[in-house]
Subunit: 149 residues, 2 copies
Amino acid sequence: MRRAIELANESVQRGGGPFGAVIVKDGQIVAEGSNSVTLLCDPTAHAEVTAIREACRHLDTFHLEGCTIYTSCEPCPMCLGAIYWAGIQRVFYGNTRRDAADIHFADDFIYEEISRPLDQRRLPIRPLLRDEAQESFRRWMEKSDRTEY
Amino acid sequence: MRRAIELANESVQRGGGPFGAVIVKDGQIVAEGSNSVTLLCDPTAHAEVTAIREACRHLDTFHLEGCTIYTSCEPCPMCLGAIYWAGIQRVFYGNTRRDAADIHFADDFIYEEISRPLDQRRLPIRPLLRDEAQESFRRWMEKSDRTEY
């Protein structure tokens, strides 16, 4: 965790957002990340997402079984989603989503939105052409050599 | 939406997951994406995240104001989080999170987990060293030339 916090501090100095994360496997750091949204023009380049992508590259896998992530702030819904998809098994965090809200980051707002039914969100989200979209799911299920995850 | 569905179908054929997305601005497609998790060994390479990264590269921005995303399936929490962070203003989706659950994708499970209080989730998530982590947030607020988003 101290390394994650150090990455967050270094990130502020470099012009990135105040967030850092490290991924640990078998007692060793396998990847590090810091928030580079504005530096890279990539709204998905949060510390945790960056560390997950780096760990997967490093370990040549899309599933980080047996890994723990230490992040300087509670993961936002995007990063928490990425943590689930990556199969990371434990999370430690420093600052909370409310601490992040106090310095004007939208984490807490996004948590509220995502938990709401679709028709009660501020962001308009509407169904369209579900019948046609089903075709890709049918093809997926019919594909005998599909790689599931 | 038809192009997003076509991308999903093509993705299945290519060995990726059955998901496609396009981002539209001023009536023009500015980016496309399809699910490449297993092909790229990147658990964050969902169709929407891939399209958002591409749109930001293409438009040289980290904020996709005035953009609409068409995705062949309701965005998972990771992708929906990315959509909020990117500032996308409208979402249209084909298949639902329950359709995705029917073909063994974890979207619905992750929605349930993310909406729960931290101590009621299956994934262990614990606070650690908050006092020390606060330092990066203090430095951020003291930085007069910070780029907010």
